[in-house]
C-alpha cells in the first residue's frame, strides 16, 4: 500500500484534499485548504428537501472546495462520474493499482463503519481510497481517527447511493504536481475574494448572508404554519447542519477564523488577526444560537426563547457576517 498519511480532519472534503496534497508533498493545514477553497458558505433552499426538511447548508456544493484549491495551486486533476457501476469499480481499481490515492463521493446510509444514528440518506460524504487487497479496500475517512476497510460490495453500494444528489460513483484524483511550493499568497487572496463574493453578492435570496436573513424571516412563521412539532424538527435540522460531523464547530466559522490567523503572516497583514477574532466571535454567536435552539426543541425549562426571538438572534448573526465580509473584502482589495 502507498505511504499515505491519514490525518483526521473536521470536514470530509477539506480533509481528503489536505491529506492528498500532503501525499504529493504540499503540506497545508485543513483551515488553509478551507480558506483557499472559499469553503465558508450559507444556503437555505426551502424548495429542496432532505428527509422532508428544507435544506440548510453551511458549505459549498460537494466537490467545489477540492476543485477550487487544486485550480488555485495549479495542480492538474481529473474528475469522473459513471452510469455503470462495474465500470466505476474497474476505473477505481486501475488507479489504486497504480498507487494513486483516489477521492470518492459516497452516501453514508450504507457506510458500515458509521454509527447507525448517523446513517441518513446523505450523499455528499468524501473519503479517499488508498489501497486494495483482494476484495478489501483501505479507505482514509477524515472523520475517523484511523483507517477503515470496505469490501467491494459495500464500496460499490455507497458509491451508487440514491436519493437527493446521488454521487454516481464520482471520483477525483491528482494527475501531476508541477511544484511542491505553489504561490500560496495568490491562492489565499483568490480564495478570500471568492468567499466574500459568494457570501455577499449572489443576487437571489437563498445564498450567503441573504440566506440567513431569509431563514430568520421564515422561522418566525414556522410554529404558526407547520405546528409546534414540525417547527421543532426544522429547528433541530438547522442545528444538525451547523454541527453535524464535519464543520469544525459553528458551521465552519471557527475553521475560517483559524485560516485567517494562519493567513495573516503570509499576507503580511497583522489586521487579519483581528478579523480572525471577529470570526471567532461570530462562531460563538452561532453556538449560542444552537444552545438556545436545543433548549427550545427539548421543551425543557420554562424560559425558552420564542421562534421570533431565535430569528432575532439569526438576524444579529447575519448582520455580523455582512459587516465581517464587507470589511474582509475592503482589506483584501488593498493588497
Amino acid at each position: 500500500m502507498i505511504n499515505f498519511e491519514h490525518k483526521p480532519a473536521a470536514h470530509c472534503e477539506s480533509g481528503v484534499t489536505t491529506n492528498m496534497l500532503n501525499y504529493y508533498g504540499i503540506r497545508l493545514t485543513e483551515p488553509m485548504v478551507l480558506g483557499i477553497g472559499a469553503g465558508v458558505f450559507f444556503s437555505y433552499m426551502p424548495f429542496i428537501t432532505l428527509q422532508g426538511m428544507p435544506v440548510v447548508s453551511f458549505r459549498p456544493l460537494p466537490g467545489h472546495i477540492f476543485a477550487r484549491v487544486m485550480k488555485r495551486l495549479k495542480i492538474n486533476i481529473s474528475t469522473r462520474r459513471f452510469l455503470n457501476e462495474n465500470h466505476s469499480m474497474k476505473a477505481l481499481d486501475k488507479l489504486v493499482d497504480k498507487g494513486v490515492p483516489v477521492g470518492i463521493v459516497v452516501g453514508v446510509f450504507f457506510l458500515p463503519y458509521f454509527p447507525k444514528e448517523f446513517r441518513f440518506h446523505f450523499n455528499a460524504h468524501n473519503l479517499c481510497v488508498i489501497g486494495k487487497k483482494d476484495d478489501i479496500y483501505t479507505v482514509s475517512d477524515p472523520v475517523s481517527l484511523e483507517l477503515n476497510e470496505l469490501n467491494h460490495t459495500d464500496l460499490k453500494r455507497v458509491r451508487f447511493a440514491k436519493g437527493t444528489y446521488p454521487p454516481m460513483g464520482k471520483m477525483y484524483w491528482v494527475n501531476h504536481v508541477n511544484s511542491t511550493s505553489p504561490d500560496l499568497k495568490a491562492a489565499i487572496i483568490d480564495g478570500i475574494k471568492m468567499n466574500c463574493h459568494r457570501m455577499l453578492d449572489i443576487p437571489i435570496p437563498y445564498f450567503g448572508v441573504k440566506g440567513i436573513y431569509l431563514l430568520a424571516k421564515h422561522m418566525r412563521l414556522w410554529e404558526e404554519k407547520a405546528g409546534a412539532r414540525k417547527a421543532a424538527l426544522q429547528l433541530a435540522q438547522v442545528i444538525r447542519m451547523l454541527e453535524e460531523i464535519g464543520t469544525g464547530g459553528a458551521g465552519f466559522r471557527y475553521m475560517y477564523a483559524a485560516f485567517l490567523q494562519e493567513a495573516a503572516p503570509i499576507l503580511g497583514k497583522p489586521e487579519y488577526l483581528d478579523l480572525s477574532k471577529q470570526m471567532t466571535g461570530i462562531g460563538d454567536l452561532w453556538r449560542d444560537f444552537a444552545c438556545e435552539a436545543a433548549r427550545k426543541f427539548k421543551k425543557r425549562g420554562e424560559n425558552t426563547l420564542t421562534y421570533d426571538q431565535l430569528a432575532d438572534k439569526l438576524v444579529h448573526i447575519a448582520d455580523g457576517e455582512k459587516q465581517f465580509f464587507t470589511q474582509l473584502r475592503q482589506s483584501i482589495q488593498s493588497i
Partner: protein
C-alpha cells in the same frame, strides 16, 4: 472557543472511532485541532429526529396491524426510504411500489420479488413480512 471549552458530551460517537474535530484557541490564542465525542445540543437534535422517526413508524405499524397498509410501508419508514428512492434503487416503477404499500397487493408477491425489496433494505424476506 477555547480548548478547555470544547464540549465532551458523550453521545452517538463515543463507541466508534469517529470524532468531531473542533478548531479552538489554545492558551496563546492560537487555533489548534481538538477531538470531541459530542455536544449536548447536537446530540439532542439527533435524538429528536430519531424519536420522530420512531413515532411515525409506530403509527404506520398500527395501520399495518389494522390491515390498512402493508409491512413494506413500515420498513420504508424505519429505513428512511421514500417510494421514489426505493424505485431508483430497484428499478421498479413508483406506481408498482405504491400498489405494494397496500396489504392485498403485497400479500400476492412471490419471494423472488420480495427479495428485491429485502435486499435494498438489507433485511431478510421474513423480516420484510413482519412488523
Amino acid at each position: 472557543m477555547k480548548v478547555e471549552e470544547v464540549p465532551q458530551d458523550c453521545g452517538y460517537l463515543a463507541p466508534t472511532n469517529l470524532r468531531d474535530i473542533y478548531y479552538a484557541l489554545d492558551e496563546n490564542g492560537n487555533y489548534c485541532q481538538v477531538p470531541s465525542v459530542g455536544w449536548e445540543p447536537k446530540n439532542e437534535a439527533l435524538s429528536l429526529v430519531w424519536e420522530n422517526i420512531a413515532d411515525e413508524a409506530q403509527n404506520i405499524r398500527q395501520e399495518v396491524l389494522a390491515g390498512k397498509k402493508s409491512p413494506l410501508a413500515y420498513h420504508l419508514e424505519t429505513h428512511l426510504f421514500s417510494v421514489k428512492m426505493l424505485a431508483s434503487y430497484t428499478d421498479i416503477p413508483k406506481k408498482t411500489i405504491k400498489k405494494h404499500l397496500q396489504p392485498e397487493a403485497f400479500a400476492q408477491l412471490d419471494d423472488q420479488f420480495l427479495q428485491k425489496y429485502a435486499e435494498v433494505l438489507s433485511i431478510t424476506i421474513e423480516e420484510l413480512k413482519r412488523v
